[in-house]
């Protein structure tokens, strides 16, 4: 395999891994903050136990998010040197801001939260988890703004002498609707997966009649969040799709397997056959729906893959850019990625409705094998949906690395041999896989142990920072 393909595989593997852990971080941190807030306000020790329980799971997961994130920061320069040269003036800024405004905040205050139970008054200690939570959210915003610029580059000029992009409007880059909607959609999806995870863990306890009075609130909170998040994911997803039809019509056409420009286009729910050819048998279709989804009005025209390819190939500006003249992304991945993202995500919302119904008004039915089995695995649904979504949106943008400006083939580091990339690809894949197994094993182990039986409710002692004989409340 060529260095380009290996580099693409490596970016895909490392990013998908990173984005398995990160959405759980983004959502669960707010659950931990919420439980701790309930504890501080009501003094009900159940909430303190929930805080410690989910806090521990959160930290086990957060560690993986951080270390896989370090690789991301470096990988642009390592494997995509010509991309970095081309976009650095524009793309580098949100990344640097992410470090200054988000990473410092989340890392510093998480350290204060983990170790500060006995060093900080309760309210201040509560503040630290909120600061960390905001840090994670700022981080998501900046990186999504950077990615949005790859999808829809704005606020820049091309320097005629160097051929590089030059930033002219930081506001446009940071606040274009592509960025804002992507952020809202990603945050909603993170709450979807985290709410599902929290509720599913709680259900496991309720079904075993273990610590029921502690985990009931977790089940209800998780399920409600999942439902609300599911609705927001759908709404923001619809907005995102409409934006995508305008900004990257080829991606939408590929997501639909729509080869010919069609007015009053049907939405294909299921299509079989040769999706990468020109024939596909549409098994289930909803008439007119694609037109409505794309533009908001039935009967509107939706552009097809072949029409767009002809249009792009004839564009002299596009042909002048190195990287070939094939503007069609890999259609099966776009088609199935889009559907898996929607389907697997909505399954979680459906489960949440079931859960809320099942446990309504204080009920705790212990039977129900189907429900139990589904609950054990349901979190995989939204988790895989997030991967599907990212694979869809990134592969759907191909052959472009920056849409309309730079093709992926031209962006790879020319000084890095395929042997070197093979080494790092294998290395990262193996290490990530091993650590992921460890993380899941630890999560399951700590879930099984349940919420702590005893917690110290008044750990803070204003003298404890000075008192060198007092045992630490927590230590690694």
């Amino acid at each position: 395999m060529e260095a380009l393909d290996l580099a693409r595989w490596q970016f895909a593997v490392t990013t998908v891994y990173h984005f398995l852990f990160v959405p759980l971080t983004l959502g669960t941190v707010w659950f931990v903050a919420g439980f701790q807030t309930a504890w501080v306000r009501t003094g009900d020790v159940r909430y303190l136990k929930l805080t410690k329980f989910f806090g521990k799971l959160f930290l086990i997961n957060f560690a993986m998010g951080v270390v896989t994130g370090i690789v991301q920061e470096f990988q642009f320069g390592m494997n995509w040197a010509d991309y970095s040269r081309f976009v650095g003036d524009v793309f580098g800024a949100p990344l640097a801001m992410e470090g200054l405004l988000a990473f410092f905040l989340e890392s510093t205050f998480l350290g204060l939260w983990i170790f500060g139970w006995d060093r900080l008054p309760a309210r201040l200690h509560l503040g630290t988890i909120y600061a960390a939570a905001f840090g994670t959210m700022f981080s998501a915003y900046f990186i999504l703004a950077a990615n949005a610029w790859m999808q829809h580059p704005v606020g820049f000029d091309l320097d005629p002498t160097t051929g590089r992009a030059v930033l002219t409007d930081i506001g446009a880059v940071l606040f274009q609707n592509t960025a804002v909607i992507a952020f809202l959609h990603t945050m909603a999806a993170s709450f979807l997966v985290s709410g599902t995870a929290v509720a599913a863990v709680g259900v496991a306890f309720l079904m075993k009649e273990r610590q029921v009075e502690i985990f009931r609130p977790a089940v209800m909170a998780g399920a409600v969040v999942t439902l609300v998040a599911g609705a927001l994911v759908a709404v923001t997803g619809d907005m995102d799709a409409k934006i995508m039809v305008q900004q990257q019509p080829m991606k939408m056409a590929a997501a639909e397997g729509l080869y010919q420009t069609t007015a009053d286009a049907p939405f294909s729910v299921l299509s079989i056959g040769d999706l990468s050819g020109t024939q596909a048998t549409r098994v289930i279709e909803i008439p007119g729906l694609l037109s409505w989804l794309s533009t908001g009005s039935f009967g509107s025209q939706v552009q097809g893959i072949d029409n767009l390819q002809a249009q792009y190939a004839a564009d002299p500006q596009y042909s002048a850019l190195p990287g070939g003249d094939d503007y069609i992304p890999y259609v099966p991945v776009a088609y199935w990625g889009f559907r898996l993202m929607i389907g697997l995500g909505m399954i979680a919302a459906a489960w949440a409705i079931w859960t809320l119904w099942r446990y309504r008004r204080g009920r705790n039915p212990l039977s129900g094998r189907v429900f139990r089995v589904i609950s054990y695995v349901i979190v995989l649904g939204p988790l895989m949906a997030m991967s599907a979504g990212w694979i869809f949106t990134e592969m759907g943008r191909q052959p472009w690395i920056v849409f309309g400006q730079q093709k992926t083939a031209a962006a790879v580091s020319s000084s890095v041999s395929s042997g070197e990339v093979l080494v790092s690809l294998i290395g990262f894949t193996l290490v990530y896989a091993a650590l992921a197994v460890v993380e899941v094993a630890l999560l399951l182990r700590y879930i099984k142990q349940g919420a702590p039986e005893q917690v110290s409710t008044e750990p803070y002692d204003r003298n404890s920072s000075a008192d060198t004989d007092k045992q630490l409340e927590f230590a690694y």
Binding site: S84, F86, G88, A93, L100, L120, V416, V438
Partner: protein
């Protein structure tokens, strides 16, 4: 050739400051992690050591990410050429940092001596390797790497086509970079030992003090050799040599403070020494950012590697606003966790949450004296 503007100079200085911040802060984390296998003779001692940096190591590591991100934003061609050029070395660095990062959190999660031992090796390797590699990397930057124009897949010309053309790893392991790598390893380990002196009491502190005393002398000799050799690559020896001499002095005084048990002063001065040494390297480098050992016409400089004035201005505003805030809350963290740790105050491992748990191998540690 255009000369460096004020913005170029400000950003070069800011990147130097970010690296200084990283080496002063994560420097002692790496040092403590290295000393795990030396001072950490039993589990309790190792836990004391890990817990001195437990609350702060992650925030300290962020300085590295910001240094990288800022380099990307301000000098994208430097970021691109350096990170793609030093590819395999950076890959090893990343693996090491990954292992270290996970190890801190996962080490205490299972009550098994073998589990803990594996993660201790991860902490050790994840500390030693970066400590050496940073020195090697900066040694190559400062003394020049095999950089020249190559075919650009994107059709870039001029500075945009300057790439590293040496062998993936071997070309980076020349004598000067290796000496600088030895220097960073020794200095960070000593700095870590001094940090332990400041943050612990009792047996850990005694052991740390012995290490700091002995290692400090070795570090001094290696550092003087490395930094004097570095003067051969400095663009302004008249400035950098005095700085190096001051750094040597502060290190010696730091050593004397170690001998006298003045922990605070020892740590302050070891930090100052690191800051001055890194500053000297950067000042000697300016206005180049990645000198070429093939031809000075192929040097990457602050002028040809940088972003536009607009980007540099935007980033300056962000940096000026955010840096004091970050320093304030990171500084506050050190104040919150100012208490000295000793083996007697480390609680039993909270491996499970049950009060009636039975630990297979790790009995409640008997209270030790100090």
């Amino acid at each position: 050739m255009e000369s460096a503007t004020l913005l170029h100079t400000i950003w070069f200085a800011l990147i130097a400051i970010l690296w200084i911040g990283y080496f002063v802060l994560d420097g002692f984390d790496l040092g403590v992690g290295t000393l795990i296998r030396f001072i950490g003779t039993d589990d309790l001692r190792r836990r004391v050591m890990i817990n001195t940096i437990g609350p702060v190591w992650d925030g300290n590591e962020v300085w590295l990410l910001v240094a990288g991100g800022a380099t990307f934003a301000a000098f994208p061609l430097w970021y691109a050429t350096m990170f793609s050029g030093y590819y395999l070395a950076l890959f090893v660095l990343l693996l090491a940092l990954i292992l270290r990062g996970v190890a801190f959190e996962y080490r205490g999660k299972k009550d098994s001596a073998r589990w803990r031992s594996n993660w201790d090796w991860a902490i050790f390797t994840g500390s030693v390797l970066p400590a050496v590699l940073f020195g090697v990397a900066f040694g190559n930057i400062v003394s020049g790497s095999q950089i020249q124009p190559t075919e650009s897949g994107s059709g870039f010309v001029g500075a945009g086509a300057l790439n590293y053309t040496g062998t993936p790893l071997l070309s980076l392991l020349g004598p000067f970079p290796l000496l600088l790598g030895a220097m960073t390893l020794l200095v960070f380990t000593t700095h870590g030992a001094i940090f332990l002196m400041l943050k612990t009491s009792g047996e850990v502190r005694q052991a740390a003090r012995r290490v700091a005393q002995r290692l400090g002398l070795v570090a001094a000799m290696v550092s003087v050799a490395a930094l004097l050799w570095a003067q051969a690559f400095s663009g302004r020896v008249a400035v950098t040599l005095p700085i190096v001499l001051v750094a040597a002095t502060t290190w010696v005084i730091s050593w004397l403070m170690v001998v006298r048990g003045r922990d605070g002063w020892a740590f302050t001065l070891s930090s100052v020494t690191i800051a001055l040494s890194v500053a000297a390297l950067f000042i000697g480098l300016f206005p180049r950012v990645m000198p070429s050992s093939i031809d000075t016409a192929y040097d990457l400089t602050v002028m040809n590697a940088s972003s536009s004035p607009y980007t540099l201005t935007v980033m300056t505003v962000v940096a000026v606003v955010m840096t004091p805030i970050v320093l304030a809350y990171q500084g506050w963290t050190y104040w919150v966790f100012r208490k000295r740790l000793s083996t007697s105050i480390i609680p039993a491992p909270s491996v499970t949450g049950r009060a009636d748990d039975r630990f297979a191998g790790s009995a409640e540690p008997a209270p030790r004296s100090g």
